[in-house]
């Protein structure tokens, strides 16, 4: 399977311009014979929307996304976007395939501590879900959701093959020369090695009022090894091959799900 990682740089609030650029990325991925392209969280709108949320959110009933949905006849698409529905706003993710919306997930865990204000502007989704795709069972997690152990448990119990984490993760440093990239390395390593999933982490780039989204997207194989690292801060479209048979081998090597009583604890 060939995947395309769109380490995308959205412009804050410029939905039309972002959609046009998203289509260009999709066309390039199609030209390069990719099976699936993944865009980061809130790729259509930018991240720190505040009151822009009402101008920059998309109603699925509108035609705004019709070109992109149409393109999913040629490539599967995962897209993070600001959604408007029944006068509420959601931080959502789509899985599009063969001209259809297979999944429209609304982010469940909206951070509102420190610099984050998501819960002030977005309504909370209420379910995690696993999407059956032509490449296997896929979990799409939206940024902060991957920080919650309950979500890791869900991933394990879902018997999934691929876990896709889309994010708009801002950069900062910790002590001892560590930085934000470390926490994502740990999360991707944990999920991939303990669930036998490929984990594909796609983070956006670009600055918003001084806050830098750092890219450095990741792919971990089902054995827990990092097989891809995107550039720090740079917008880019990366194409890489995944050997899907690794999933079965990894699950055979470490059949943690065999212990069925675990799920009832």
């Amino acid at each position: 399977m060939k995947i395309a990682i769109a380490q995308f740089k959205p412009k804050l609030g410029k939905v039309k311009e972002n959609l046009e650029r998203i289509e260009i990325f999709i066309d390039e991925a199609i030209n390069k014979k990719s099976d699936l392209i993944i865009f980061p969280e809130l790729a259509t709108s930018g991240y720190a929307l505040r009151d822009l949320v009402s101008y920059a959110s998309i109603n699925l009933q509108n035609k705004d996304l019709s070109n992109i949905i149409q393109k999913s006849n040629f490539i599967d698409i995962v897209l993070g976007y600001a959604q408007k529905e029944d006068n509420l706003y959601y931080n959502s993710a789509l899985y599009l395939s063969e001209g259809l919306i297979l999944t429209n997930r609304k982010k469940v865990y909206l951070p509102d501590y420190g610099m984050f204000e998501e819960a002030r502007y977005f309504a909370k989704g209420d379910t995690l879900e696993t999407t059956q795709t032509k490449f296997g069972k896929v979990n799409i997690l939206i940024c902060e959701e991957a920080f919650h152990l309950s979500v890791h448990h869900f991933v394990e119990q879902s018997k999934s093959d691929l876990t896709i984490i889309i994010s708009a993760s801002p950069y900062w440093i910790y002590e001892n020369k560590a930085d934000k990239t470390k926490i994502w390395d740990n999360i991707c390593n944990n999920i991939s090695s303990l669930s036998g999933n490929f984990v594909i982490y796609v983070n956006r780039v670009g600055f918003e009022d001084g806050v830098g989204f750092f890219g450095s997207s990741l792919v971990y194989n089902p054995f827990g090894a990092c097989i891809f690292k995107g550039d720090f801060l740079k917008e880019n479209l990366y194409i890489l091959d995944l050997e899907l048979s690794d999933i079965a081998h990894a699950k055979e090597f470490m059949p943690l799900l065999k212990d069925k009583s675990y799920g009832s604890i």
């Binding site: 440093i173 930085d179 001084g210 720090f232």
Partner: protein, 275 residues
């Protein structure tokens, strides 16, 4: 406790980050150039080095703004940076402007504020002439302590080093190749003859940076910071300085009358205005 160890970071990565910040935030509002006031000190020196990487030397304008009491060493150091980087420069003496307003009975702090604000006027005027943005050079230590002139040296369009403590400015300056003599010299605002930041503040930057870092970045209580071994009066004094100077870090407050008031419930990032 070694501040250079506690506050250390991956220098090439942070340099890349700040260079990309400058490019991104300047280009997105339709500009390609930057203007800075170059004092000959480490802070504006570091910003000059970052700007050259971000925009190219032909797009950086360093303005040297001496007053009659400014030390000759400051001007020499500013030229050291300009020659090293090959950036554009202008030297504009502000003595005439300042002295046409200053009277004999003005004390040195009052004069210092006037000089800082005159420099701001010249920088923003130069930014108009060169179609450039004014890039700020205040560091996090100064901004937290309020050790700067409101609408003077604190005024700018954007600031790449405002989240770096003085210690971190020194670490990054070394990596960026700022001349050693500039990194090592005694910090001074040079607003009057013989002024020293650390004498005026009553503590060293090394000590202040560690105290500020533990109080605010790590969110320790005052007592917890004192228990780390810092002097009680200094920790209390620093906390009070930060509290009293909060006004300098915010736009003016506005009396709320309507249902939707600027910044309370009319909330947009500045990047809303990008092209």
């Amino acid at each position: 406790m070694d501040p250079y160890k506690v506050l250390g970071f991956d220098e090439p990565k942070i340099a890349d980050y700040l260079i990309e910040f400058l490019r991104d935030e300047i280009y997105k509002v339709g500009f390609e150039k930057a203007v800075i006031g170059l004092s000959g000190g480490i802070d504006s020196g570091l910003v000059a080095y970052l700007l050259k990487e971000a925009l190219g030397k032909e797009n950086v304008y360093a303005i040297i703004l001496p007053y009659k009491t400014s030390s000759a060493e400051s001007v020499d150091d500013a030229f050291k940076i300009i020659n090293e980087l090959g950036i554009n420069y202008k030297k504009i003496d502000i003595t005439k402007m300042a002295d046409s307003y200053i009277e004999n009975n003005f004390d040195k702090v009052r004069i210092g504020n006037i000089l800082a604000r005159l420099r701001m006027i010249v920088l923003f005027d130069q930014s108009y002439e060169t179609n450039a943005l004014v890039v700020g050079t205040s560091n996090k230590t100064e901004l937290l302590l309020g050790y700067g002139t409101w609408y003077g040296d604190m005024a700018s369009s954007l600031n790449p080093i405002g989240d770096l403590y003085k210690t971190q400015v020194r670490i990054l300056s070394k990596y960026m190749g700022v001349p050693k003599s500039i990194i090592d010299k005694k910090p001074t605002a040079d607003l009057w003859v013989g002024q020293s930041d650390e004498e005026e503040l009553g503590f060293s930057y090394d000590e202040a940076d560690l105290i500020l870092y533990h109080l605010f970045d790590k969110r320790l209580s005052i007592d917890e910071v004192i228990n780390l071994g810092f002097r009680e009066n200094i920790v209390n004094g620093i906390f009070e300085r930060v509290r009293k100077n909060q006004f300098k870090r915010l736009p003016p407050i506005i009396a709320k009358v309507s249902r939707r008031s600027i910044n309370w419930d009319f909330r947009f990032l500045r990047d809303w205005g990008q092209i």
